[in-house]
Symmetry: C2
Subunit: 262 residues, 2 copies
């Protein structure tokens, strides 16, 4: 659409803003300083860059779509036109409920795939909304499906993406069913940390692009409970909070708190 160069600013930055902490652990190969993720760590990578046929490579991604904070990528109940890969920024995936807000099924980070739930009926069951200014790669669904039919590896990759999401959803449900408020928050922070590490950023210090309420909507807690738990973790010295940035100070303690005994 437009020149992606100016995306380097503001909300599109990586886990810790480039401003006051430019040094802390950002391994270079995956994460660009602009906050855009490299294609090599993207979940959609094999679809966009099928190595066996370079001719397709340029044509698969229809366009890059930019979203402003709060803008909706797709709505529940609408036909699935495309699947997406998050290139920069953050999004929420929400399972809408009768009373308005609904449950936040997952948070999307750069490199994550989105819109796969539409493979069920061709209608999206969830909605995705940008948390801040974001950019996604858009892959028309018909192209993905045609390609999947032609290239076995693409089909297998799509199955893998779906199955991985399914497994994560199961883990999330298990956490909601079995863990205390503190354990859910601890697991959430560790999970985010892990995902940043996989993307080549520091897993020790990152930004929380969502509000306390949105964390609560994800974890099945109220914003007050989330806030209290985080304050408690800070009081124990397990994390450090400043604005919307968090530093993991005692990963071991967080991890230990997940064990059944506690």
């Amino acid at each position: 659409m437009t020149d992606p160069a100016d995306l380097a600013s503001a909300d599109l930055a990586g886990p810790a803003g480039p401003a006051d902490a430019p040094a802390h652990a950002r391994s270079a190969q995956a994460a660009s300083p602009s906050g855009q993720i490299a294609c090599t760590v993207c979940a959609m990578n094999p679809l966009c860059h099928p190595r066996s046929s370079p001719a397709d490579a340029s044509s698969l991604v229809e366009c890059r779509r930019r979203l402003r904070a709060g803008e909706t990528l797709y709505r529940a109940g609408t036909p699935r036109a495309s699947i997406y890969a998050v290139r920069a920024g953050f999004l929420t995936v929400r399972a809408p409920a009768a009373d308005g807000t609904g449950h936040i099924v997952r948070f999307l980070l750069p490199g994550d795939a989105a819109g796969l739930d539409g493979f069920a009926s061709g209608i999206h069951q969830s909605e995705a909304v940008a948390l801040g200014d974001s950019e996604v790669c858009e892959i028309p669904a018909y192209r993905a499906e045609i390609l999947a039919d032609f290239r076995a590896a693409i089909g297998a990759h799509l199955r893998g993406l779906l199955a991985r999401e399914l497994g994560e959803s199961h883990q999330h449900a298990a956490a909601l069913a079995r863990l205390t408020a503190a354990q859910r928050v601890a697991q959430f922070l560790l999970h985010l940390s892990q995902r940043w590490l996989e993307r080549g950023y520091s897993g020790c210090a990152f930004r929380l692009p969502m509000t306390r309420r949105e964390m609560g909507d994800h974890l099945g807690l109220t914003m007050e409970t989330v806030s209290r738990v985080m304050s408690d973790f800070q009081a124990r010295g397990w994390i450090a909070l400043a604005r919307d940035e968090v530093k993991i100070r005692a990963e071991g303690m967080l991890r230990a708190s997940l064990q059944p005994s506690k």
Copy 2:
């Protein structure tokens, strides 16, 4: 393996045992009196019976496997050798946890597909255990994948199955995060009712093949809470309980109790 004729007995029966209530609403086309589900309502149907190439039809299902109550179909951490369709009986799908029991992700009814989570890494992330004597159709994974690569419709069907499971998992997570104990039980009963209807059985009266504890492990509740809620529903006249059979007497009230106001 063995003659499936003797499967008509005991635990393999449909939602209400054939014994004392042979008449109550069993529409004939899908549900056989033996408790085996007809292939027409099975989630795997297009895989087993690809209409365009009758030659494959007999070869896709490797074998029917019979399970005794408590027997494990597949374990978490083991390589996925096959995917399955439940032909008769009931199974639990569990996401194992450190402390042993783990969260019950879903209950499998006849016609349901199982083992799809293995598409992520080739290793099962969950385990499936028979609740009572059961029978499954086993489809070797390599055959499903080869077929998916050859026939576009098969690949699309697998994606559809995965995406549908994903959507259900999201709904389940939303229920755990947002609903009260009573609402979760009400939704669970309505969901089971719906699934029996889809299979050609009565949605008003069916058996609960799982214990209260297992219901609790699925709904994120203790067995005492499940029991209390069910007793309360019965006291209100919304359901009737006898042994492990349940009758829905006021579906409207159950459904209304899910609304936010309550």
